[in-house]
Symmetry: C2
Subunit: 87 residues, 2 copies
C-alpha cells in the first residue's frame, strides 16, 4: 500500500524564531497591524510504501524524530497519512 | 475576536525541490528505501485580531498571496482558522 504523508516540524514554543520575526516586521508596511506571534516551521510531504497504515505511521514517527526534525529544539506532528488509491 | 491561523506554503508541483532531494538522499543510510517524492514547504502560524472569521480569512488569503508566499513558484493554503477562547 502506498501512503501520502504530511508532517509538520515547528520550533518549540519558547525558542526565538528569527524567520517569524522577519515576517512580523514586514506586516505594518503592508497595512496589517492586527497580527502577532508569527512562527515559521517546515511542512514535509512524501510518499511511503508500507504494508498497512499502522506500520506507515510508526515509520513516519521515527523519520520525524531522526531525520525531519531536531527534537532538541523542534516539535513534529503528523498532519496526515492517507492511502493513495491506485487506478 | 482573536483567531489562530495556520498557513501552508508549498513549491508548485513541477518545480525542483533541492531541500526535498537532500532529505531523500539521506533516507537509504537510515534504512528507509520505501520513501519517495519528498517535498519541503513552509508552515506559518500566527494570531490575527478580526471582527469575524470571514474577514480574518480574507486577510489571511491576502497575506498568503502578498507576503507569505511567492505566487509565481509557490502555492498556499489555509490549514486552519480557529477562534481563540479568551478566559
Amino acid at each position: 500500500m502506498r501512503f501520502t504523508v504530511e508532517v509538520l516540524v515547528t520550533l518549540k514554543p519558547r525558542l526565538a524564531d528569527p524567520q517569524g520575526k522577519a515576517v512580523e516586521s514586514a506586516l505594518p508596511a503592508l497595512g496589517w497591524t492586527n497580527v502577532r506571534g508569527v512562527r515559521v516551521g517546515k511542512h514535509v510531504r512524501f510518499e511511503v510504501e508500507s504494508d498497512d497504515e499502522t506500520s506507515a505511521r510508526a515509520q513516519v514517527d521515527e523519520m520525524a524524530a531522526r531525520l525531519l526534525s531536531n527534537p532538541v529544539i523542534e516539535d513534529s506532528r503528523i498532519l496526515e497519512v492517507r492511502e493513495v488509491q491506485r487506478t
